[in-house]
């Protein structure tokens, strides 16, 4: 190989690299643009709309954030104390949902991946079916069930509803992860004297930790963003979760988009943080099972 041609190859590689960056940057702009609009809306102090290309606030102000957080002028009664309480509700409900959903789904997913049992096939089909049935008609029966259980208007009731709706997807997710693990792993542990359950707990679970983390994240997000059921089931300000509060900024006659946007950003930040913290697991956890299918 002569020197000029290798130089040309190098140049081509550089160009290709540049092209890749350009393409990815284009996608990044596409991904960020609407989010930046939400930020701009949150920072604009009730301005008249301007047809603009660039999503930046012309006179940035934090007044909408202050109003949502309940500090400063125009805040609702209860103020910051109430917002804190509602944030705590959201965190409690979502974190509990994640735990309950994973706790319910993990053993079931393991059984589906490892045991051949009567009813496995039917159960799996029923799980798949729940994902296909639109929930439009289910909210009134659910309300009656919660009422019968005495769990209406409690966070516990909400957690139960969210966790069970998250279970089918969690089972699919985790079953794949379990199926990807070689069977010898727990068999070796059982030869060493562990019970099946002990092997599952101490040997298998640690291996699928990324998948557990991602499944928990999904369940967390289901609960964190849900407002239709929450608004129907909760009847006291102190039990409200944040999306229910957010929904109230869009009233019958009056939509406070600035506050809505500010609230939306505050609601999104924790999830963004979790995504960032879990991004490596996200890639591994989501695909752990898929490969062996």
């Amino acid at each position: 190989m002569s020197a000029p041609s290798s130089q040309r190859a190098h140049g081509r590689a550089l160009l290709a690299e540049l092209g890749v960056h350009l393409l990815v940057l284009l996608a990044v702009v596409f991904a960020l643009y609407p989010v930046l609009w939400v930020v701009a809306l949150a920072l604009s102090p009730g301005d008249a709309p301007e047809p603009r290309v660039l999503p930046f606030a012309s006179h940035p102000s934090l007044e909408h954030f202050a109003a949502v957080l309940g500090v400063g002028a125009g805040s609702e009664a209860g103020g910051g104390w109430l917002f804190g309480r509602q944030l705590l509700n959201s965190v409690l409900v979502s974190a509990s949902t994640a735990i309950v959903a994973v706790a319910l789904a993990t053993p079931a997913a393991y059984a589906l991946a490892r045991f051949d049992f009567v009813g496995a096939k039917e159960g799996e089909r029923a799980l798949l079916a729940t994902q296909m049935f639109p929930g439009v008609a289910a909210s009134i029966p659910l309300y009656l069930i919660l009422d019968a259980l005495g769990l209406l208007d409690t966070r516990t009731g909400l957690v139960l509803v969210y966790a069970t709706t998250a279970v089918p997807f969690a089972i699919f997710q985790l079953r794949g992860a379990f199926a990807a693990i070689p069977k010898d792993l727990e068999e070796a542990a059982m030869v060493d004297g562990a019970t099946r359950f002990g092997a599952f707990l101490r040997v298998v679970l640690p291996v699928v930790r990324p998948a557990l983390a991602v499944t928990a994240l999904f369940a967390f997000m289901t609960a964190w963003n849900e407002f239709v059921l929450a608004a129907t089931f909760l009847s006291r300000e102190e039990t409200f979760t944040l999306p229910v509060v957010l929904q109230r900024y869009v009233g019958e006659y009056d939509a406070r988009w600035g506050r809505f946007a500010a609230g939306a950003i505050l609601v999104s930040l924790p999830v963004m943080g979790l995504f960032y913290a879990l991004q490596r697991n996200l890639v591994r956890g989501l695909s752990a099972g898929g490969v062996k299918g």
């Binding site: 029966p141 009422d147 964190w224």
Partner: protein
């Protein structure tokens, strides 16, 4: 393991502790201990008021609790989001978990009475009778019983910007003439020109009605045609902005970009101090021989719920709230046009130009008909108006279509059938199931299999119980609703009539607008286009990001999953705003590039494209992350081997990457397709079915039947069951066609 997992584990531990604390401390009603010692009886009040009105209500509550009649009571006020109000009342009141008193508009009372959600208020004293207008009490009366006390009147009036218009306009034509004197981007008049509610003012001026006094749809004929023609003139000459929402009306007027605005009293609190404005009566229309615009008037009332636990307290509070004392506070704090005559006669209120202008407007207004059919007139009328203003169709054509739609919405429900055949089928089925179960239980092989399955059951039982009780049971009950017709609380069994109606397109053309089959086709197209684009974008980006030499991969990856982290109802609304014809960023970009602005939701193709853009944006990160994971699992030496063999990049992708990627993408694609098929948020929030319901998909159509079209829950449930059927068959067929080997993994 990595730090993040440990962090998550710590977080989980914390959350588990808090869950425990929550279960033990807050179970039951969760009321703080201090309240338990309060001897006062609790009266629950629900409302959907916005800020100023909510503040006024709180002040009245405080006054009431200090007054002699309110002393025995403690009030618990709940502000429910307007969007959740009706659904919440309907599910809570029948179980006794609802409010004692709630505030709602008079035109809903008939519906509430039919569903047994409200109870008669009881007799009024002579003084109270005198305090309220007889017409207002009449509007709250169903049969011979009075169902609530009137609180305030809501109607439109003309807001005038003093800087742009020194004198009140006497006629609409004067405002049209103002066009020539105002700069581009500033409008002589802003109001929601595409809303049937606001356009009714003009229709009334021309002598027309949306619903006549005997409950027949009346939005057709010469008056309606002249109204449409006048509206089009207003929009075409830019006297009125096109596609204005209530929000835009407020922003344009508040921003000094409108000489006048037609709006309700709720517009006032948001106008900046720097703006000089006043309220005037609505102008008259010269073209309608000088008749004035006649707005609809809504009477807001305090209603007593059935199964109220504290009826005496509820009545006492409603009396206080509606009476002179409560009304004075509401007029002062929220500037409501209060119904109490004693309060309204207060000299200070009489002198208030704002309140007196609105009061005059309300006196000339037309109370919104209480007929429950009114609810069914808005959708057909609104669609007729939009079709006329946005499309090039003739007035007669769109009005006739509206009439047909109305007839379809209010056509009688299927007749009640005897449930005997269904019961017979169900009992035969049960019998058969028992017989099979008994036979299988006797079968030694089966018993052995069950015995061997016992350890597995230990792992699945709790999940089965939880999912069975809280997911499958409600869905099954929901599915069973499809055999009934009527509104919630008033259902009767109709057998398969709902299915017959849906599948025969309610007797219309099988592929006509809004028919099940056409919507199904749109839904399938919607799913196919979205999944294809998700796949293209997701896999493409994953391949780019998978290059180990690429710098900033970590940052790119985080930024690209951002659409996933923001709640979809927020970003869907942001996208809708970006597609706005006059103020959206997309059209701003187009005009910066020298293009013409597009009315995105006026044509099917552009509206569909806007929906797709939004949903692709929401969904590609999931596909990208799944692909990245699958790519990481492909052994590197395969690529090296391919390179040694002299394979080009494309060949490497086609022969190595794709065959290994495809099987692991399968489940993700199936899941994505199911989610997209039922992606309610995007369709409902972005295009809202525009134009003319043609971009609706099956779920959003089901939602409309359940909630906006006279609440035919049974009919909506039939849609839901059919959606389920389509998906079930579709995914099975797709699974067989694409992965014949996958079927053999475990069977």
């Amino acid at each position: 393991m990595t730090g993040s997992v440990r962090r998550l584990a710590a977080l989980s531990g914390l959350a588990a502790l808090s869950l425990f604390a929550q279960l033990s401390v807050f179970s039951g009603d969760g009321a703080p201990v201090a309240k338990a010692q309060d001897a006062r009886r609790t009266v629950r009040v629900w409302h959907a008021y916005d800020e100023a009105e909510a503040r006024a209500l709180r002040e009245v509550v405080r006054d009431f609790e200090r007054s002699p009649e309110g002393q025995p009571y403690r009030l618990e006020v709940l502000h429910v989001a307007f969007g959740a109000y009706a659904a919440k009342l309907e599910s809570a009141i029948p179980t006794g978990e609802g409010p004692d008193v709630f505030i709602d508009a008079h035109e809903r009372i008939v519906t509430y009475v039919e569903r047994h959600l409200v109870q008669p208020f009881g007799a009024l004293s002579g003084r109270e009778r005198f305090d309220f207008d007889a017409a207002h009490l009449e509007a709250l009366t169903v049969g011979r019983a009075l169902y609530g006390l009137p609180l305030a009147l809501k109607c439109g009036a003309l807001y005038v910007n003093d800087a742009l218009l020194p004198n009140d306009p006497a006629t609409l034509e004067e405002l049209e003439a103002l066009r020539a004197h105002l700069p581009v981007g500033t409008y002589p008049l802003v109001f929601e020109a595409e809303s049937a509610y606001w356009d009714a003012g003009l229709l009334h001026a021309y002598g027309g009605r949306l619903l006549d006094s005997s409950g027949r749809y009346a939005f057709f004929g010469p008056a309606a045609e002249r109204t449409l023609a006048h509206l089009r003139r207003l929009v075409d000459t830019a006297v009125v902005p096109a596609e204005a929402s209530g929000d835009l009306v407020k922003k344009l007027f508040a921003g000094g970009r409108a000489a006048t605005a037609i709006g309700g009293p709720w517009l006032a609190p948001d106008l900046p101090r720097s703006l000089h404005w006043h309220v005037a009566p609505l102008p008259s229309v010269r073209a309608a021989s000088g008749a004035p615009l006649v707005p609809y008037v809504t009477i807001e009332a305090a209603l007593i719920a059935t199964r109220a636990r504290e009826i005496e307290g509820a009545r006492a509070f409603a009396r206080f709230l509606a009476g002179p004392k409560g009304a004075a506070v509401r007029a002062r704090v929220a500037r409501q046009i209060v119904a109490s005559r004693t309060a309204a006669l207060d000299p200070e209120l009489v002198r208030d130009p704002f309140l007196s202008a609105f009061r005059r407007s309300a006196e000339h207004g037309l109370p919104l008909p209480t007929n429950p059919r009114m609810r069914s007139t808005f959708e057909p009328a609104q669609r007729a108006i939009r079709n006329y203003l946005r499309g090039g169709r003739s007035a007669r054509d769109v009005l006739e279509q509206g009439e047909r739609r109305f007839d379809d919405l209010v056509r009688p429900l299927p007749a009640e059938r005897s449930p005997a055949p269904a019961l017979l089928v169900v009992s035969l089925g049960l019998l058969l199931a028992v017989a099979v179960a008994v036979r299988r239980a006797r079968d030694p092989h089966f018993r052995l299999a069950v015995k061997r399955s016992l350890p597995a059951y230990a792992y699945v039982t709790h999940a089965v119980i939880a999912v069975g009780l809280l997911v499958i049971a409600p869905l099954a009950v929901g599915a069973a609703t499809s055999l009934f017709a009527g509104a919630p609380g008033n259902l009767h069994y109709v057998g398969l009539a709902n299915y017959v109606d849906v599948l025969t397109a309610r007797g219309g053309a099988l592929l006509g607008t809004g028919s099940f089959w056409l919507v199904l086709l749109v839904t399938i197209l919607w799913t196919a286009v979205n999944v294809a684009l998700h796949l293209l974008l997701g896999v493409g980006l994953a391949l780019l990001l998978d290059r180990p030499t690429l710098r900033f991969r970590g940052i790119y990856r985080v930024l690209l999953v951002l659409p996933w982290a923001v709640p979809s109802y927020v970003t869907a609304l942001a996208w809708k705003g970006m597609f706005h014809r006059q103020f959206g960023a997309v059209n701003a970009m187009l005009s910066a590039l020298g293009g013409e602005p597009i009315s995105w939701f006026a044509r099917w193709s552009t509206a569909f494209a806007a929906n797709v853009a939004t949903n692709v944006w929401l969904g590609f990160p999931f596909m990208m992350v799944v692909t990245l994971g699958a790519l990481a699992a492909i052994p590197q030496d395969l690529y090296e081997a391919a390179e040694v063999d002299g394979a080009t990049a494309w060949q490497r992708f086609r022969l190595v990457t794709w065959p290994l990627l495809a099987p692991s993408l399968g489940p993700a694609i199936a899941m994505g397709a199911v989610w997209t098929f039922n992606m309610f948020n995007v369709v409902f929030l972005v295009s809202g079915g525009e134009p003319d319901g043609t971009t609706d998909i099956l779920v959003s159509e089901a939602y409309r039947w359940a909630f906006t079209r006279s609440q035919q829950v049974g009919y909506a449930a039939a849609y839901a069951v059919l959606i389920f059927g389509v998906l079930w068959i579709g995914t099975r067929a797709l699974g067989r066609a694409t992965a014949p080997d996958a079927a053999g993994t475990k069977s």
